[in-house]
Amino acid sequence: MNRLTYIGIAIAAVIILIAVFAPVLATHDVNAQNLAIRFAEPSSEHWFGTDGLGRDIYSRILYGARISLQVGITVVSVSGVIGILIGSIAGFYGGWVDKFLSGYVFNVFLAFPGLLLAIALVAFLGAGLGKLILALCIIGWVGYARVMRGQVLKVREYDFVQAAKALGAGNMRILFSHIMPNAIQPLIVQASLGMAGAVLSEASLSFLGLGIPPPAPSWGTMIEEARQYFSITPHVLAFPGIAIALTVLAFNFIGDGLREYLDPKQRTR
């Protein structure tokens, strides 16, 4: 794996630790307001300064990591499982099942620009963490399904699958015990890039006012709140911006590195 992958893993590990130990690392109550010190510059008391309501930005960013990772992990897990199952069924059974799933259902979901579908769903369902996760899962599963279908199509032709068939193994056993474990590897890359995408989508929807409502310290919401005062106090926007960029960058580094590692053709380049 290249150097950037290790940097990505290191940054991601730090962000995960921050999210886990946020209550220990936070220096202030995330929602405690103090208008007397609004827009305070970074100092020893408030490391990243304070926002428009005098809340400590450092502590809010720590707790924001929890929201981002919670959304990211849930969306990747749920959409990953759904995508793997549907993709496996399409690839394994082939015929009209595959034609219907990959030729029609996948195309319908790919016909919407991802963010737009999420915006539309949240607009009609209403804002909130659960609805946001649901919307991101609805747009996210098809990416996993497509990769998994391609993998299953390839693996099902391998000799050991034919051998299992010859030994009388049932379809479910062949699919779950023989094909899936050998087909799942590229999904790790997809999951890492999906994590970056989910964190970015959550922040985007929160920025648009369609994600997690205030006062929850979502990084996207923090940026939206800071935007109107940005010309006078850039640090209020800069810190959550850096947090999002670092998180997305870390998972992109990991995804890219893993792709290169798993694909020997790219490794030699």
Binding site: L116, L208, L237
Partner: protein, 326 residues
């Protein structure tokens, strides 16, 4: 010829099927609204008469679909007099309904704003291509050198930095500090620069990486060796031969990204108060809960996306004979 026609017909049928499903989904999305649109728009204090009038005016007094499942009556067949069919028949006549808030035709509202969004998306694309080709070629021809690593890092940064972070920073530097552009709005022609750069940043990063790997791949081909052996300068080899072949996948991504740009424009339009379709969807549609307008905007963006993708597929096949043969 027969095979070609059959293939074309099959693709057209699939596109029409996808458009039908997308329209149906968007039409039925309104049923997900908690409560009813009438109470959302008119408020909890609205009288029964006001609600009935509103529902009648917007055709909401009729059943949503051909059938409904009632907890008391069970399966109920509603016949052809339903909102789904009405929406379709209006749509085929070019009518997207009237706004719940302003009573104006939704299509008129969209047509007023769509040109601004398309202009922004095209400007963003132009910026992205203008940056990506020279940077990608530079990185590809200097593989694994500092310049390549730097270009790759900048590209990854461009992908990872969200538009709502890039946008305000550009405003801060070029509008607030340097005073070169207006921070928001679209009064002067140069006002498109900052929104276009913001919207095109991620695409330029994606394209840079694509051009880089295309150039690296093509540089290893036999025809490049022949061109070099002929005595062509390296510049001519790269720009006349390598880039010509290397740009084929880039065209595909460009086409596919047009729809992404149109959807992504929602955030950029919000940052710069750019009076496009995205701002219409956000401020007049979602914020004011004008669900008919939201339906119209989502539909128009999605159908544009599907058409752009289909055309890209077509152009891609024309450009690369290998794909036509398979």
């Amino acid at each position: 010829m027969k095979y070609k026609l059959l293939n074309f017909a099959r693709q057209l049928a699939l596109v029409l099927l996808v458009i039908w499903t997308v329209v149906s989904l968007v039409t039925l999305l309104i049923e997900l609204v908690p409560g009813t649109p009438a109470t959302t728009i008119l408020g909890e204090t609205a009288t029964a008469e006001q609600i009935a009038n509103f529902n009648q005016k917007h055709g909401l007094d009729r059943p949503a679909f051909f059938f409904s499942i009632d907890s008391e009556k069970g399966f109920v067949w509603n016949g052809a007099d339903n909102r789904y069919l009405e929406y379709w028949s209006n749509l085929l006549r070019g009518d997207l309904g009237t706004s719940f808030r302003t009573d104006r035709p939704v299509l008129d509202m969209i047509l007023e704003r769509y040109p601004a969004t398309i202009k922004l998306a095209l400007a963003a694309m132009l910026f992205a291509v203008g940056i990506a080709i020279p940077l990608g070629v530079l990185a590809g021809t200097n593989k694994n050198r500092i310049i390549d690593n730097l270009a790759s890092f900048v590209a990854l940064l461009g992908i990872s930095l969200p538009t709502f972070v890039i946008g305000p920073f550009l405003v801060y530097i070029f509008a607030v500090k340097l005073g070169w552009f207006s921070p928001t709005g679209s009064l002067y022609p140069e006002d498109i620069v900052l929104p276009a750069v913001t919207l095109g940043a991620a695409l330029s990063a994606i394209l840079t990486r694509m051009v880089r790997s295309s150039v690296i791949e093509e540089l290893g081909e036999d025809y490049v060796r022949t061109a070099r052996a002929k005595g062509l300068s390296e510049r001519k080899v790269v720009y006349k031969h390598v880039l010509k072949n290397g740009l084929i996948p880039v065209v595909t991504v460009l086409g596919l990204q047009l729809g992404v740009l149109l959807a992504g424009a929602i955030i950029t339009e919000k940052i710069f108060s750019w009076q496009g379709l995205g701002l219409l969807l956000l401020e007049d549609g979602i914020a004011k809960r004008d669900y008919r307008l939201v339906q119209g905007c989502v539909l128009v963006i999605s159908v544009t996306y599907i058409i752009a993708n289909t055309l890209t597929d077509f152009v891609y096949k024309r450009l690369d004979p290998r794909i036509r043969l398979t």
